[in-house]
Amino acid sequence: MSVARYDHGSRIPGWDDAVDLSKDPASIPDPALTPVPAELRQQIEAAMARYPDFRSAAIPALHAAQELHGWCSPEAIEQVACVMRLTPAYLTAVVGFYDMFESKPVGRNTVYVCTNISCSLRGARELHAAVQQAAGDDPDFNVRAFECLGACDIAPMASVNGAYVGPLELSDAERIVEQLRAGEDVLPEKQLLRRKVADPRASTDAPALFDDEDRA
């Protein structure tokens, strides 16, 4: 969560205005008064059933709620809290910790541009600026500079609605935005899933994977 700050770093007074200290903290929502969409409830309950301790389902449940609501809105958090029988404060703390949870309304199309070291050595910051410019102030887009996404082999790269694409040229920025607007597959020829391993020996037509005689 970003806090408004002066140039010298201090917090601008009022950054915590939303907190009304005269009120009691929000308690676990009452199921009778909290409508939860049936599908979301079912997803959360299924997640809770997978773990020895139901609280482990907090992150999967928030993923599901964010998917439905577009961000972790107070309403979304309240619904998760209601099904999981946790306080909204507990879940808000979890949301605040993880980069993929949005604590403000964002566009539906998520583009994470990796700007960490390996990508920035290959022009990621310029790429991020280009994608931002291409998306402009379109409210449908959520363009973020992200920490290492674990795909330095296709640097500079981006994760477009969860699909990794790279290596990207500056001119790809426009195409990404256009294809997302048109609802098309993004840069099909640059998708990571279609890429082979770099090690040239990995693709040879050798016998079985576990061939015992092979080593003898």
Partner: protein, 436 residues
């Protein structure tokens, strides 16, 4: 060069499915392992000398043997959070050969007598999570997971858990807290996870590559596997080479080959006309090495002797067109962003290091700032619950000490550009009567 274990035929179409994996001899090691007593499987892991592939390089068999004996819920957790900048080997393995990981986990759980297992995969790896989920389902319907696997007395459940974007969740205790549904703050150690880990139960945590190697150890036998690599760094290792090289990507090497062979032979070295300026041997957290150290053998001990570490096996090459100040600042900003904030030296140290490096970058700094940067790094190291702070302190300190001339030259050039004139050293504290 040695033959491939992990990467052999990894691009075989359909290898992610059980059918093709089994046609390639998959799950044979599991069957073999289940015919042995648990102790023998564990002995094979011990004999193999396999060291953890996630970063710390701790002997895997030894770690598995630390779990207490007796009947209770014991956990095996696969660390698939892979967020160390420069590392992308686990992604390739999970995406192309998910059953290798699943098979390795079942065998490792058998050796450690664990009955519940989890894969904690980073939230960004959405596509890989879907592939793994399918593989787990296939393994379950084939009877490789569940109660009394293949008629043995070994039972195991496996749950895939997606994270939501936090570097610190790759730290084993941060991961456990995150898996328990909390903020991913690291815990105080001891107690170590082997005694009190997930849900306070005995827990074995291993990296994806480590676990994916297990079926190969069972197939070859521990002692045979130990013949690969060097005496203290056995086996093969996936290295992720990235940055300023012509063929970035994952390569499987036998530990102990010269680093030059990896960077130049396999990855093609920097672009024509460029030279290596410095390189990270084991992810962005490892102290940087110079071109003079390119001929060192690439294994755990040689990298440690050179004052760095093999880490996760991610080599990042920086060529001479890049500014060391820029790299240091990019790194420091990353660690500042990812510090969980629990321990003061890390939370404040990463923040102040960024501020000082920004002063260096803008030309407002004096050479004395470089000394302060170095001393701040020293005060971070070893003073926190986990090593995130150290992970920034080590590379930044190494860059400042090995490239001090360039930092100073950068400050001077910037000052000249901005017309700031000579830096004024601050008045010593004694002169204004402080501390007297």
């Amino acid at each position: 060069m040695s033959e491939l274990l992990l990467f052999k035929d990894i691009d075989e179409p359909g290898l992610a499915s059980r059918e093709v994996y089994e046609r390639r001899g998959g799950y044979e090691s599991l069957k073999r392992a289940l015919r042995m007593p648990r102790e023998e499987v564990l002995q094979n892991l011990l004999d193999s000398g396999l060291r953890g592939r996630g970063g710390a390089g701790f002997a895997m068999g030894k770690k598995a043997s630390f779990l207490p004996k007796g009947t209770m819920d014991k956990y095996l957790v696969c660390n698939a959070d892979e967020s160390e900048p420069g590392t992308f080997k686990d992604r390739e393995l999970m995406q192309k050969s998910p059953h290798m990981l699943v098979e390795g986990m079942i065998i490792a759980a058998y050796a450690a007598d664990a009955n519940r297992s989890f894969i904690y995969i980073r939230g960004e790896y959405q596509q890989q999570a879907e592939i793994l989920e399918r593989a787990i389902e296939e393994a379950r319907s084939a009877g490789y997971l569940g109660e009394r696997i293949l008629g043995s007395d070994h039972s195991l459940s496996l749950v895939l858990h997606r994270g939501a974007g936090a570097y610190i969740c790759g730290e084993e205790t941060g991961l456990l807290d995150s898996l328990e549904g909390k903020r991913g703050n690291p815990r105080l150690k001891p107690p170590f996870p082997a005694n009190q880990g997930l849900y306070q139960g005995p827990t074995l945590i291993n990296n994806v590559e480590t676990l994916a190697t297990v079926p190969h150890i069972i197939r070859l036998g521990g002692q045979e596997y130990a013949k690969l690599g060097t005496e203290t760094s056995t086996g093969t290792k996936l290295v992720s080479v990235s940055g300023n090289v012509q063929r970035p990507g994952n390569y499987e090497i036998e530990l102990g080959i010269p680093a030059r062979e990896i960077i130049f032979g396999l990855a093609g070295g920097p672009e024509r006309g460029r030279d290596v300026k410095f390189w990270f041997p084991g992810g962005s957290s490892s102290p940087v090495l110079t071109p003079a150290e390119l001929d060192l053998p690439y294994d755990f001990d040689s990298m440690a002797k050179a004052g760095s570490m093999l880490g996760s096996g991610a080599i990042i090459v920086v060529d001479d067109s890049q500014s060391v100040v820029d790299v240091a600042l990019t790194l420091a900003k990353f660690y500042r962003h990812e510090s969980c904030g629990k321990c003061t030296p890390c939370r404040e140290g990463t923040n102040w290091t960024v501020k000082m490096l920004q002063r260096v970058e803008s030309g407002e700094a004096t050479p004395m700032d470089l000394d302060i940067i170095a001393s701040v790094q020293e005060q971070i190291m070893g003073n926190c619950l986990c090593v995130l702070g150290d992970a920034m302190a080590m590379p930044v300190a190494s860059m400042v000490s090995k490239f001090r001339d360039e930092f100073e030259a950068h400050i001077e050039t910037r000052r000249a550009q901005l017309g700031l004139g000579e830096p004024t050293e601050p008045t010593p504290l004694e002169a204004v009567g402080v501390g007297s």
